[in-house]
Subunit: 179 residues, 2 copies
Amino acid sequence: MDEETDGIPQNRPAARDVDATDRKILGVLVDDATISYAELGDRVGLSPPAAHERVKRLRRSGAIRNTAAIIDPKAVRKPLLAFVHIDTKGWGKTPELMAISEHPEVEEIHSVAGDTCMLIKVRTEDTRALEGLLSRLYETPGVTSTRSYVVLSTYLERPVQPGITTEWPTPRHMAKPLY
Amino acid sequence: MDEETDGIPQNRPAARDVDATDRKILGVLVDDATISYAELGDRVGLSPPAAHERVKRLRRSGAIRNTAAIIDPKAVRKPLLAFVHIDTKGWGKTPELMAISEHPEVEEIHSVAGDTCMLIKVRTEDTRALEGLLSRLYETPGVTSTRSYVVLSTYLERPVQPGITTEWPTPRHMAKPLY
DNA sequence: ATTGATGCAGAATTCAATTCGGCCATTATC
DNA sequence: GATAATGGCCGAATTGAATTCTGCATCAAT
């Protein structure tokens, strides 16, 4: 695939225009990426090679980051999901981020706006393992406190939805998005 | 694939023993599910048909829930990520969950232990869209208040890690996990 | 009007997924 | 303890899809 300067993902070059057909393709592939290009072409109204070309382009442009197996956490004995607020003095320092991302239990690391804290998502085998992980996190330099939210049950978990509208219904009088 | 009684996922039948080889396979497929069975077999020390059999079994048992394209949120114009605490009177009622999951911006819905609240993950085009979504959520029956955490930047986002140890290093004197 | 580029379809080729038969090891059964 | 039965693997063979190639139509720019 592409090269990363570091462990932390860089911004992609451009991410060209994603038109209505591309969105349809994404919508299908998010649901099931094991289908043939013939099947994909049928569903979006293209010939197999044309569908193939589109998908190759979406991959190259980075719109499709990856094609991955989605695993049942229970099957690999990681049934316990928790979100953890980590208060830090001075957020976003790379060494601390690296230290946190070392733990394989950590699935996501986000910086929260307007607050000197990180919100991370962790998955462990049980509460004892979570406790151990939390104490190890607390030992990371810069971490001043943690507050964890254990998930009792999950009702919905789905990937990013590409949307199926032709173009985005954002009124023209609106300012550009944050990013 | 399998049948769901409802929009809400059911518990799988069994999820058989996942041995060390299975974990290796999962580890590879989480990284990249587009490789050939020959390649997969090479990496885990199996012939192509054997690797194929394993994967089929992992799919049937539900350990591999899905094989999906992972989309770059920016490419589909959903760069704004936020977590929202939703306080509810009486959590987990199905109609409310359904109402919340109707919104395509909602990616995850979790019930938090020890609190009458839900933690949901949403992705929108910009802050205005987020504001609109929040007000629509607030109109859902049972919702008493919301508190949102807008993500400034994301440093890590990865799928469930299957782990690569032969068996789990949980000491035998420990009690069984919660779930 | 002409040229160039882009995206598509259809046919042809290459390569991988899938099936099949037989072997070996482990486990259950008598 | 001997034997059947099961499960998992390999190697070869077959089927089927991915990929390449060629030509055509459309649109944009010159």
